[in-house]
């Protein structure tokens, strides 16, 4: 049982790391701010989600798992908001 969980963790965390890497490449290579922002948020959402998901089986109690999930939710929330703010600032800059 344990080994299955470990393999699951390795797979999910690696996938998460890969998504982060892809996001970083996007951040560096995409042409303008809006598309870069897009790359960044995708990495945040999916990458972190995968990593948290992968780590869940490794937690020894409910409380710790709950903490992990709330970390992910918080990042989701603040990430989405801040991205909105940045995007609006950019759009205002374009219009002006």
């Amino acid at each position: 049982m344990n080994i299955v969980l470990d393999i699951f963790t390795i797979a999910a965390v690696s996938a998460g790391a890969f998504v982060f890497m892809a996001g970083t490449v996007g951040l560096l290579r995409f042409p303008d701010e809006l598309t870069r922002l897009h790359a960044l948020t995708k990495a945040d959402n999916l990458g972190l989600g995968l990593i948290v998901f992968g780590l869940l089986p490794q937690m020894d109690n409910m409380f710790a798992a709950l903490k992990l999930i709330s970390v992910w939710l918080l990042v989701q929330f603040s990430g989405a908001m801040v991205t909105q703010l940045i995007a609006r600032t950019i759009r205002r800059g374009m219009n002006a």
Binding site: L74, F77, S78, M81, V82, Q84, L85, R88
Partner: protein
């Protein structure tokens, strides 16, 4: 073990190259951006050194609040493009040689330590029980070396006084020049309405577990400060004037309670800053709770800067 060391080598290489970058970067804006990344990496280094308490402090204060402070400064200085060229070449070479010598001497001392490793960890663990705390770092901060911690709170207060003192005479008692983006129905307002309840809970949690697990007044205070600034920047709460009675009270209450309990120790526990044995833990929790509030307010005001507007009657 080998995996660990590979990770550590990577981390150290990254830390050093980012530090180099932030020093040599052409313009100040990138230097500051890079420095914020540096702060976050540094917290990772603290985790690797088995110092979770410091990692939290570094992330909250070293990277978070410091970065915010520097960014705000940059925005106000309206600095664009490259700043002034570095010093003349001979000076740079001389400085480089000198700094390399310093680094080399320090590295040599680290690589070839002369004696056995020194540690007070056994002494701390042997007497930690008397304080009722379980987190040894909190024990050192609030029990064994509490005088340092008390004086450091005064330092924080003085730093704020120093920042305020920069205001012109006529603006004393005015409102700090924090930039407010008050715009109804903006995303920022939504964020400032929803995040703080969670943030405040996190701050209280951090302060509460500080006695037994990593965390404590500083980390909690920094989170509190961030929430307060968010609310002010979004225009949901007015930036208070610096002579507001409640602000002054909130700033001072932590050190005052700490000092009062310390002085009470003279009479009930036979020494300044000693706690009566059965009440040590509750007293420390009270100190930490009030300090969290004071630190939050002080950090927030430090970031807000000196008063720049006259108070509207």
């Amino acid at each position: 073990m080998t995996m660990d060391i590979v990770f550590d080598i990577g981390l150290v290489a990254l830390l050093i190259s980012i530090a180099v970058w932030s020093i040599v970067a052409r313009d100040a804006f990138s230097a500051i951006m890079i420095f914020m990344v540096y702060g976050l990496l540094l917290s990772l280094a603290w985790v690797r050194l088995a110092a979770v308490d410091i990692a939290l402090t570094e992330a909250a204060i070293g990277a978070g609040v410091t970065g915010m402070l520097l960014l705000n400064a940059l925005a106000r200085l309206r600095m664009t493009g490259s700043d002034a060229a570095p010093a003349a070449l001979p000076l740079r070479i001389a400085a480089g040689v000198l700094c390399m010598l310093v680094s080399a001497a320090l590295s040599a001392l680290v690589l070839f330590p002369s004696g056995e490793p020194t540690t007070l960890a056994p002494a701390v663990m042997a007497r930690l029980g008397e304080s009722g705390l379980e987190n040894p770092v909190a024990g050192v901060l609030f029990v064994f070396r509490s005088l340092d911690t008390l004086l450091e709170k005064v330092v924080l207060l003085l730093a704020l006084l120093a920042v305020w003192s920069l205001a012109p005479d006529g603006l004393w008692g005015g409102i700090p020049g924090l930039r407010v983006f008050a715009e109804k129905k903006s995303v920022l307002v939504f964020l400032a309405q929803t995040l703080p309840p969670i943030g405040i809970m996190v701050a209280i949690y951090m302060c509460w577990v500080g006695a037994s697990e990593p965390g404590g007044a500083f980390q909690g205070g920094a989170v509190l400060a961030a929430m307060w600034i968010l609310v002010m920047v979004a225009g949901l709460r007015k930036v208070p004037s610096i002579d507001s009675q409640s602000v002054r009270l909130a700033m001072a209450v932590g050190p005052v309670v700490f000092l009062a309990i310390g002085i009470a120790g003279i009479f009930v526990a036979n020494s300044f800053l000693a706690y009566p044995s059965d009440y040590a833990k509750p007293l420390i929790v009270v100190i930490e709770a009030t300090l969290t509030l004071s630190i939050g307010v002080t950090l927030g005001l430090l970031a807000a800067g000196p008063p720049e507007k006259v108070q509207q009657p």
